[in-house]
Homo-oligomer: 190 residues x 2
């Protein structure tokens, strides 16, 4: 199996959250040409935050794509200058919920949509979460924080309450590797 | 919590797989304005196909967004004129793998990305799959079919072999509702 090769690229549109490009691709056999379109965005991060009592720190916000309020986990795009996705994950958790975590575990990184997106989505588990202050939201954000026992999450997904596919992908790890939630607690430095 | 309201929309770009629009949105309080960008695409479908021996019918294809070969489940976009996502799911399974299923179960429908996409992703479980003929691919497609025991899928996700977030979202149901795989077999009509 040989992929098509790229022969020229142009920017179709720039937006604050992604850039759309058109690339001329040529087939490996026969030389047929076709234009492929791609979204270029910074890498994204998602956090599954869990407190000492086994409750997930969830957020509820209006999403303008789906035009409804979505029950989600915290997440967002890496900022320019942010070198490591862990820093972005810690920042998004703090900004969107006001919580901080005692322990961070990288779950993995996935492709939000490998058909036409170039970026990755980095997934983290944040354990021992506790409220450290108020949310830090910008003027366009309005976010409610809800704590939900982790054991209730699968039902919320399969009953169609949690519908954000990228959130569900992160929650996959809690079912596939439940031992992560029982990770030994590190004593906090004093 | 009140969402922003839309005041005017324009098409920024049309591609064969989605249309990009810009919409002027106004804040519920203060009247501040901001341009939001949206991708409009047909609804998408994904199928988790499983044969009588408990093996998932997976596909491997090059993805031009991630620029790598991805191990996935069959899926794609609904065609114009396709009224029901089940028909699209049956068509994609047949075209991409050559397989047909004895029994179809709707798992749910999710938002591929509710931040800026307007479409839904419909998820199906296809049971009792068997090969019915050759694949039906268009000239731009080259797809390998691989059968993989369902019990091996969680390890392939958490070890980073399966990385397509929308595929992982569909596979969530196999872990959350494993009884679906043990659904009683219907006798085929004779």
């Amino acid at each position: 199996m040989k992929p098509w090769t790229a022969h020229g690229k142009k920017i179709v549109a720039r937006t604050p959250i992604f850039t759309l490009t058109a690339e001329e691709m040529r087939a490996p056999r026969g030389g047929r040409r076709q234009t492929f379109y791609f979204l270029h965005a910074p890498d994204w991060i998602n956090v599954v935050p869990v407190d000492e009592r086994g409750r997930a720190i969830m957020i509820r916000q209006h999403r303008y794509g789906s035009r409804r309020f979505e029950l989600e986990i915290p997440g967002g795009a890496m900022n320019p200058g942010e070198r490591h996705p862990l820093r972005a994950a810690q920042r998004e958790l703090r900004e969107e919920t006001g919580y901080v975590a005692r322990r961070w575990i990288k779950l993995g990184d996935v492709n939000p949509n490998p058909a036409f997106q170039r970026n990755r989505l980095h997934l983290y588990l944040a354990l021992g979460c506790r409220k450290a202050g108020a949310q830090q939201l910008d003027y366009a954000e309005e976010i409610d924080v809800k704590t939900i026992p982790v054991a209730r999450l699968p039902g919320l997904v399969t009953r169609g309450v949690i519908t954000h596919a990228l959130v569900i992908a992160a929650l996959y790890w809690l079912l596939a590797r439940p031992e992560l939630l029982r990770a030994p607690r590190k004593r906090r430095a004093r």
